[in-house]
Symmetry: C2
Subunit: 258 residues, 2 copies
């Protein structure tokens, strides 16, 4: 027989589908591709261009966000107030957004919303300081609010996840978490496991725990392990508990199958 | 043989694909579906909620659009100035939008942009009158700017196409044109043909011309035909020219094949 797709001959034991199913599948694929084209063109339409500093100067953007790396972790108060990196301009309507009925994800940032809709200092001045973040990360964060696009590496994904969690931008947090999860391996699993714990990233937590449990024999030799025992021994306990739990379940499964 | 997809038996002459191609196609389908999910969730994120009149009153929306049906086609000047339907609130940043490099479609409305970025009356007052349009159509138009979504019937699609053309919202115009094109039949082909001509809707023009050429024997009996001969005979000439052209080409094709 001749395959209608690759046009090569095949034997009966290599048969895949009947003609009807092949034709249906081809139609489905075409439909899916058309849907993708349609969704992409809507996305392009809805994407708003990231405002320039010019736009802010001429009054088109009504917010200025300032990244401040120094505050929080050890920076002095005067450091926190310094606005020495360029500002990131933005529009209130884009950052705040009101939740669309039935689309809970569509409320871009409830935190910005609370900040800008109440009579807080930020709302009056239009100037918002964002602490513990570099200019590049803040810029990528605001850019995402306009375009739903960002170029990630592991560092950027971690930094953005933290910021997205702080400002409750669920969609961006989920996007970063998915990216980091795809990068989990034996070398970084402890770091990602601890990170996932700190930032309630369930998918990443599960993925790194799985990798850790598959490599228990070398776990205790790792430098990051020793650090975690020092810093947060309860998290280490949870790894052992999960591991033991899995062993017990596997044993019970084997018993049942005998 | 047994089909791996529908699980039914089939004969050799009903064979579709080999196993390898079947498995590849299944993977492709899964990938396309994942991409659709991803695009949909980005769309949901980028969709902005349509502002309420409350938002305008409390200063969150900085524009008010007024539909005015009366002007243009016979309305008096005083009619044109009447603002008796509710206003449609909007944000400058959403209507104007700056073109994103490489995405020419992303400039939502160059016309609004020119209006609001120059020191025109509309820019100062934040009040824009939109002529020859009902409140419902204007509302759907602005809603589309926030969500890239609209519920169409043929009337709404025609009205929105006209408005989208006037304000150069290419994406919406293309969307409406596609919808109307899908509804072309022998009964409405003349109307749609003339409409497509008036509004430079090439896809719709071609689709209605094809239907007209397939039904030439009854063309001249139609009421809309007689009206078009009265109103714009050149358009009727173009139908006949296209028909003749096709006949000549078909004959030439037959000659070559003999």
């Amino acid at each position: 027989m001749w395959c209608q797709s690759c046009k090569e001959e095949y034997e009966e034991e290599d048969a895949g589908t009947c003609k009807e199913c092949y034709e249906e599948a081809s139609e489905t694929e075409e439909e899916l591709k058309r849907e993708i084209d349609d969704l992409r063109s809507r996305l392009l339409f809805l994407r708003l261009p990231f405002p320039t500093l010019d736009a802010a100067a001429t009054g088109h953007a009504d917010l200025l966000l300032h990244a401040s790396c120094c505050a929080g972790s050890g920076g002095s108060d005067s450091d926190a107030g310094r606005l020495d990196t360029p500002a990131v301009p933005a529009h209130r309507v884009i950052l705040v957004s009101f939740p669309l009925r039935a689309f809970s994800m569509a409320s871009r940032s409830p935190v910005f919303r609370a900040m800008l809709e109440n009579e807080m200092e930020e709302s009056r001045s239009g100037i918002i300081k964002i602490y513990d973040v570099t200019y590049d990360v803040l810029r990528a964060f605001v850019h995402y609010m306009y375009t739903a696009e960002v170029l990630l590496d592991e560092q950027m994904a971690s930094d953005l996840l933290v910021l997205a969690e702080k400002y409750e931008v669920k969609h961006l947090k989920a996007y970063c978490e998915k990216f980091i999860t795809s990068k989990v391996n034996n070398d970084n699993a402890i770091t990602h496991y601890a990170f996932a714990h700190r930032h309630s990233a369930k998918q990443l937590l599960e993925a790194s725990l799985l990798v850790l449990m598959d490599n228990m024999s070398t776990l205790a030799d790792r430098e990051e392990y020793k650090e975690l025992v020092e810093k947060d021994p309860r998290l280490v306990v949870e790894i052992y508990e999960a591991y033991l739990n899995r062993q017990v379940n596997t044993a019970a499964g084997k018993d049942r199958s005998h």
